[in-house]
């Protein structure tokens, strides 16, 4: 592989890293409040409000049902509005985070729901207010599940970022398509896949280790 190619791979790697990490940050920050809202407004939740819960659940399902490649195109006007352009790394972050957030929200929702209702009742009995119950009891108790879910979300986002390459987002996926697929450059394709495997393995390893640590206590 030429120096130019290695340079290109390195640049693409950084692009992917940027797309995934910024999108992950957005998904974390938006997904957790959404999940909390889903759990607490559900029937029997601490802020039971079906009129919030139902539309929210529909919107989340809608985004999750739409295939990412379609979301990618459908969100172009929104992306232009936010980023000012529909091509490049920053433009890809909009659809990646919008598709990852509902997914992550559902994962977090499941973890929050699995918190022992007895523990929540105990928290109520000791005079904790609803926000304290969420932040001091439900969130810490659900954290191992949330971290595990976040690992899955991150890996899914790497896949999505590769797809975003198809509409000119840059990154490893873009490189693999342009060189590997369109120019039959197998070396580049294998290099890209190797890098992606390594990244996924590292993320999964860190995620598993964190969950194991949290659960072992």
């Amino acid at each position: 592989m030429s120096d130019v190619m290695i340079q290109a791979l390195w640049g693409a790697f950084l692009d992917t890293l940027t797309m995934v990490s910024v999108s992950a940050l957005i998904a974390w920050c938006a997904g957790i409040p959404l999940a909390v809202l889903l759990v607490t407004t559900a029937r029997g939740g601490i802020f039971a409000a079906p009129w919030i819960h139902r539309p929210l659940a529909w919107v989340i399902n809608g985004f999750r049902a739409t295939p990412f490649i379609i979301l990618l195109v459908a969100l172009i006007p929104l992306t232009r509005l936010i980023v000012g352009t529909s091509i490049g790394v920053w433009a890809a972050i909009v659809p990646i985070s919008i598709s990852a957030t509902p997914f992550f929200a559902r994962v977090v929702e499941v973890s929050l729901r699995e918190v022992d209702p007895g523990v929540i009742e105990a928290a109520q009995a000791m005079g904790l207010k609803p926000f304290a119950i969420i932040s001091r009891v439900m969130f810490p108790e659900a954290l191992p599940g949330i971290i595990g879910g976040f690992t899955i979300t991150l890996v899914a986002m790497i896949g999505a970022s590769a797809m975003a390459g198809a509409i000119g987002a840059g990154g490893l996926g873009d490189l693999a398509i342009r060189y590997g697929y369109q120019r039959y450059d197998t070396t580049v394709m294998i290099a890209v896949i190797a890098i992606l495997i390594a990244v996924v393995c590292i993320i999964q390893f860190i995620g598993d280790r964190s969950v194991a640590y949290l659960r072992s206590r």
Binding site: D116, G118, V119, E121, A122, A123, Q124, A125, M126, G127, L128, K129, A132, R136, V137, P140, E141, L143, P144, L214, R217
Partner: protein, 390 residues
């Protein structure tokens, strides 16, 4: 009231309890001076928690279910009050109305004259902080250490760090878990977890402790130690303890008074010695059955309704207990005088409950005649029942 109850509630002995083994230091966590005064002289019969005409309905898919039907009950200050019932009797709903984990459908619950239903959000939070609760499955946070579990209610209540540390140390000492502050609940035994639960419930220095089947998940030996701890806490802190259970043995071990709940209704209540000594309602009798004296199997197999060849020993059951004035023991002289020297003790025993002798004796009279024996037995100060002939 029984003598043991008086010992617990009289000011002088309470002071003694305060002064021994460093409890005075523990009392130092008490932030309100007026409460300390109140605690030194808890008066018997002073109602702390009052249920008036309490109703609770649940709406289910199959219509409305009445869980509680008109409960009237007063729980005295600094007493240990037991509520017993079979599963589904409504005891769990009843205890949860005290800190409003359950809303009531009718009637009222008052604590210190304050209607729990009418409290605003902030008042409810204050009430819950004054009311500790422990649970069958302990309900500790798995993700937090023992220290963090205890600190949780205090942090939420905005107590300063140093104060939280002080209280955690004292309470861990009180429940016998010194040195376990940094351990996670998964590393503790059931009894230790419940001790953490008790310590956590006491963090905000409550006036009332609610125990929801607190020993039902524990083995008998651990149950004993937890009950002893509850009794000690009641004595040292003058706390009103309300506990629900389906085990009569728990009530017997630790309670001053007991109420029996059956199908959402209060069928019987009174001092434990009275209810145990002379149960009136069938539900109470059924729940007491495992503790009751029964005819041993070998005799039961030989039992006949009328005297026969080889079955000529009349068996009488003498029930003692449940009446005022039996502070002394059971007089053997009376039994002998009434039944003569042919009488023999077959089975049974007498024990003491809150200073009252109570129990059942099975007495055999060789060649005895039921009618004559019953006439003579009128001299005996017990409830007498002819069992049959063996």
């Amino acid at each position: 009231m029984s003598s043991s109850y008086e010992l617990r509630t009289s000011g002088a002995s309470y002071d003694r309890l305060l002064s021994d083994d460093g409890f005075a230091a523990f009392a130092g966590i008490e932030p309100h001076a007026d409460d300390a005064v109140e605690r030194q002289a808890p008066r018997a019969g002073d109602a702390h928690i009052v249920f008036r005409g309490l109703y609770k309905h649940y709406h289910t898919a199959r219509g409305s279910v009445e869980a509680l039907k008109g409960i009237d009950l007063e729980i005295g200050r600094a007493e240990i009050f037991g509520i017993i019932g079979r599963s589904g009797a409504g005891k769990s709903s009843l205890i949860r109305t005290i800190n409003r984990l359950e809303r009531v459908s009718g009637g009222s619950v008052e604590i210190d004259g304050q209607d729990v239903q009418r409290l605003s959000g902030n008042e409810l939070v204050r009430l819950r902080r004054r009311t500790g609760m422990i649970f069958q499955h302990f309900n500790l946070l798995r993700s937090k250490s023992v220290f963090e579990n205890l600190a949780l209610p205090a942090r939420a209540a905005g107590l300063p760090r140093a104060e939280i540390r002080r209280r955690v140390e004292r309470l861990l000492a009180l429940v016998g878990l010194e040195g376990k502050a940094d351990v996670f609940p998964s590393r503790l035994s059931g009894g230790q977890k419940q001790r953490v639960g008790i310590a956590r419930a006491l963090m905000l220095d409550p006036k009332v402790l609610l125990c929801d089947e607190a020993t039902s998940a524990l083995d008998p030996e651990t149950t004993q130690t937890i009950l002893a701890l509850l009794r000690e806490i009641n004595r040292r802190l003058g706390l009103t303890i309300v506990l629900i259970t389906h085990e009569m043995a728990v009530i017997r071990e630790v309670c001053d008074r007991v109420a029996v709940l059956e199908h959402g209704e209060l069928v019987e209540s009174g001092p434990v010695w009275q209810v145990f000594g002379a149960p009136r309602h069938d539900a109470t009798k059924a729940m007491l059955a495992p503790l009751a004296v029964r005819l041993p199997e070998d005799l039961a197999a030989r039992l006949r309704g009328a005297p026969q060849e080889g079955h000529d020993t009349l068996v009488l059951k003498l029930d003692y207990g449940g009446v005022e004035g039996r502070q002394e023991g059971v007089g053997l002289g009376r039994i002998l005088a009434a039944l003569g020297d042919r009488a023999m003790l077959l089975h049974g025993g007498i024990d003491r409950l809150q200073g009252h002798a109570q129990g059942s004796l099975l007495v055999g009279i060789k060649g005895g005649d039921a009618r004559a024996a019953l006439e003579q037995a009128a001299l005996i100060d017990a409830r007498i029942e002819v069992v049959g002939y063996v």
